[in-house]
């Protein structure tokens, strides 16, 4: 799981069955010091409470789909938590 920052939203009316009602957000993966790392990705929001500017943690691969109510969906990144605090000692 990695840290990421929500930087935008995506609206898609036509999408795969099973994804109705799922919120999609654009997230920028971060280093542990909260610096941008790599390209932004679209992630399904399993917390349903994240929004632009929120610091979150994301999971990728098959476990991303496991975060959603219907686990048999074509999702490869999901927001699984909203970060309150990151302590890296410096």
């Amino acid at each position: 799981m990695q840290l990421a920052k929500v930087i935008g939203t995506v609206v898609a009316t036509q999408k795969y069955e099973g994804l109705e009602g799922i919120k999609f957000l654009i997230v920028q993966p971060l280093t542990k010091h909260q610096q941008p790392k790599g390209e932004p990705v679209v992630a399904a929001d399993a917390t349903a409470q994240a929004g632009p500017g929120t610091l979150v943690f994301i999971v990728g691969s098959r476990e991303a789909a496991q975060a959603l109510p219907n686990t048999f969906v074509p999702v490869d990144h999901a927001i699984v938590g909203i970060v309150d605090d990151v302590d890296t000692g410096n």
């Binding site: 799981m1 990695q2 542990k32 917390t47 999971v59 098959r62 476990e63 699984v80 938590g81 970060v83």
Partner: protein, 88 residues
């Protein structure tokens, strides 16, 4: 599995229910020389690891579900051991 070093903690109140009650630690992946290689993971800790510990991390979903005894869980990286010694 890879060897890593615990370098921080993550606190999140609002999170998927599979994470409730679980401790989250930031682990830096180490190369065989013991130096961080730039990759990190937020890991679920099941062995009472702490910041500064050298640990063994398993980053695989099926294994994570087995360890956490959950049939469905959006969790991949789990700290499965505290390393005593590495000999290369």
């Amino acid at each position: 599995m890879y060897i890593g070093q615990v370098s921080g903690t993550v606190v999140a109140t609002i999170k998927h229910e599979a994470f409730h009650g679980r401790k989250l630690l930031i682990v830096d992946q180490l190369d065989l020389a013991g130096e961080p290689n730039g990759v990190y993971d937020i890991c679920v800790d099941v062995v009472q690891a702490g910041v500064g510990d050298r640990v063994l991390v398993m980053d695989e979903g099926n294994g994570a579900r087995q360890i956490l005894q959950q049939a469905v869980a959006p969790i991949r990286a789990v700290i499965v051991g505290i390393v005593d010694e590495v000999s290369v």
